[in-house]
């Protein structure tokens, strides 16, 4: 691996020759102060008391921007199945790369299908209307709900109509071939 190494060199440039070097360094003149407390800034790799590091029992995907595992990690819903493969792949790119996020979003969609399959595999038929909050829709949005049902009904009637209209001549063909 060709990893960059942080330079520890201090005096890259002799600043003593620069007229006025450091005269504006007073934090009181710094418009970003006190957002950054430089006096109290040990740096990530310098000496500070790091928390004990958690040893996760599940697979954790880690951003390649991290130089090491954060001390504490979340263990909810480890990657699995096809979506898990896509997620693992996504973590080959950094957070600044669009492909990283698009792969993850794609994996999320695949994961939804996996969720339904998993439910069925466990003999559970997901009650999708209930999961979408149909009770509250009926209680507080009767007209909106009726409209949606009407639109859905109209659309399916249209689709059915088109299908029937298309099939009709085809159905007649065998008889015309007699």
């Amino acid at each position: 691996m060709n990893l960059p190494v942080k330079s520890e060199g201090r005096n890259l440039l002799d600043t003593s020759g620069i007229i006025g070097w450091g005269v504006d360094a007073d934090p009181r003149n710094d418009p970003t102060y006190p957002i950054r407390d430089r006096a109290n800034d040990p740096g990530l790799t310098k000496n500070w008391v790091r928390p004990p590091v958690q040893q996760p029992a599940v697979e954790i995907l880690q951003s390649i921007e991290h130089i090491r595992q954060p001390a504490v990690v979340g263990t909810s819903t480890p990657p699995s199945g096809l979506s898990g493969m896509m997620r693992r792949l996504a973590f080959r790119w950094s957070e600044s790369n669009w492909i990283h996020w698009l792969l993850l979003l794609g994996a999320d969609r695949v994961n939804v299908v996996e969720g339904v399959v998993d439910d069925l595999a466990h003999a559970r038929i997901p009650n999708i209307p209930a999961e979408m909050g149909i009770r509250s829709e009926l209680a507080f949005n009767k007209t909106g709900f009726a409209k949606k049902v009407a639109v859905a009904g109209l659309l399916s009637a249209l689709v059915a109509g088109v299908l029937i209209a298309r099939r009709a001549p085809a159905a007649e063909r065998p008889s015309s071939g007699d």
Partner: protein, 382 residues
């Protein structure tokens, strides 16, 4: 234990899940007494945030009673009633030492741009959240804060996110006495930002939203001058006209990726998900603030690209400040503001829903039914 269970966009349910366990010496297990659904949970609910996995439990706004403690947590005891900031922060790292608790570097393996957040997808660390009976709380010796005896738990639960985020939105705006502040979004965060703007000395607070019932609420709760952007030809022109042609001193975006109001952004951002959500309020904020003004962003956007008018940021000499609120830094002052009655967090709670009805609570909040401003979930045993 029972927990909210994400099944895919617009689909959640309550599921029996294993009890959370102590996984780190600084962990605690907390029995939830209150949790909220947040506007930013809706970005997850709508499938806008990458790496939101099926089976995950949401909920970054919760308070509860300490049930179990890891060996290194010495400042809490079992039975303490605590409010838990939504940021998972170690309190020691490079960023925590600067008070940037929303940017802790030791709590999120999956990304470096954001710290760990309870129940907020794997992009924010992959932690299960508090819309459940029990929750694992990492760095329990740092984040959780005792709820004072005099404080209503309904106020406490809003101190985990809504109040500090609204307050920090106003704080990052650098509001000076007499400033005109324009706030986009009259959801809970916008309401709190407006209320807090007065604490910093604002002279005028203007709010835009799409929903009349939220604007009506804002008119009395904040109180603010309110406008429905649907009834204004052009938000930016309107803002210029009402401020002597200059623009607001400070503009605050409290909406984030779920914004409505522009076909292209809706298509690219929220439908195709190629943008980090619809950046309409950010456009309005940048274009309606005066030259040299400050734009403060607390609305949540996804991590992908955005069509942001950065040229105007340069030409107008704007300062943009944005962050996840560093809750722990702000809590002492905010608890004092609640005690003195300067802010009234629980005044925005419109719905109390048993945890069992989590699917309906999400739908009511997401579809903006029944005048919903802020729903609170209460587990059966709480």
């Amino acid at each position: 234990m029972l927990a909210m269970d994400y099944r895919g966009p617009y689909r959640v349910r309550l599921t029996e899940k294993p009890m959370p366990e102590l996984l780190h010496p600084r962990d605690a297990i907390v029995r939830v007494t209150r949790s909220c659904i947040c506007g930013s949970d809706l970005h997850l609910y709508h499938g806008l945030v990458p790496d939101t996995r099926v089976g995950m439990t949401f909920g970054h706004e919760f308070c509860g009673i300490v049930e179990q403690l890891g060996p290194e947590v010495e400042n809490l005891k079992v039975g303490d009633h605590v409010l838990v900031p939504f940021n998972i922060a170690c309190g020691q790292c490079h960023f925590c030492q600067q008070g940037l608790y929303g940017n802790c570097h030791e709590s999120n393996a999956q990304a470096t741009a954001v710290g760990g957040i309870y129940g907020y997808s794997h992009t924010a660390g992959g932690y299960d959240g508090g819309q459940a009976e029990y929750v694992r709380v990492p760095y329990a010796d740092f984040g959780p804060t005792l709820i004072p005896d005099w404080m209503d738990p309904d106020d406490a639960v809003l101190l985990t996110d809504v109040v500090p985020t609204g307050y920090q939105a106003a704080e990052m705006g650098g509001i000076q006495k007499g400033d005109t502040v324009v706030i986009f979004g009259a959801g809970p965060i916008g309401l709190m930002a407006a209320r807090c703007a007065w604490l910093f000395g604002a002279g005028r607070v203007i709010m835009f939203d799409l929903l009349d019932y939220r604007l009506e609420f804002a008119r009395t709760y904040c109180p603010a001058e309110v406008y429905n952007f649907k009834e204004v030809d052009d938000v930016v022109v309107f803002m210029k006209k009402t401020t002597d042609g200059l623009g607001a001193d400070v503009a605050i975006d409290c909406v984030g990726g779920d914004a409505k109001g522009n076909f292209l952004h809706t298509l690219f951002g929220t439908k195709l998900k190629l943008e980090a959500g619809s950046a309409i309020p950010l456009h309005w904020a940048i274009n309606s603030v005066k030259k040299g003004g400050i734009v403060s962003i607390v609305g949540v956007y996804g991590p992908t690209g955005n069509m942001v008018p950065v040229g105007n940021v340069v030409n107008k000499g704007l300062t943009i400040r944005a962050n996840q609120a560093s809750v722990k830094r702000l809590l002492p002052r905010l608890i004092e503001h609640v005690r003195l009655g300067n802010i009234d967090p629980k005044g925005m709670i419109t719905h109390r829903v048993p945890l069992e009805d989590v699917a309906d609570a999400y739908h009511i909040f997401a579809a903006k039914l029944d005048g919903c401003i802020k729903p609170v979930l209460v587990p059966n045993g709480a």
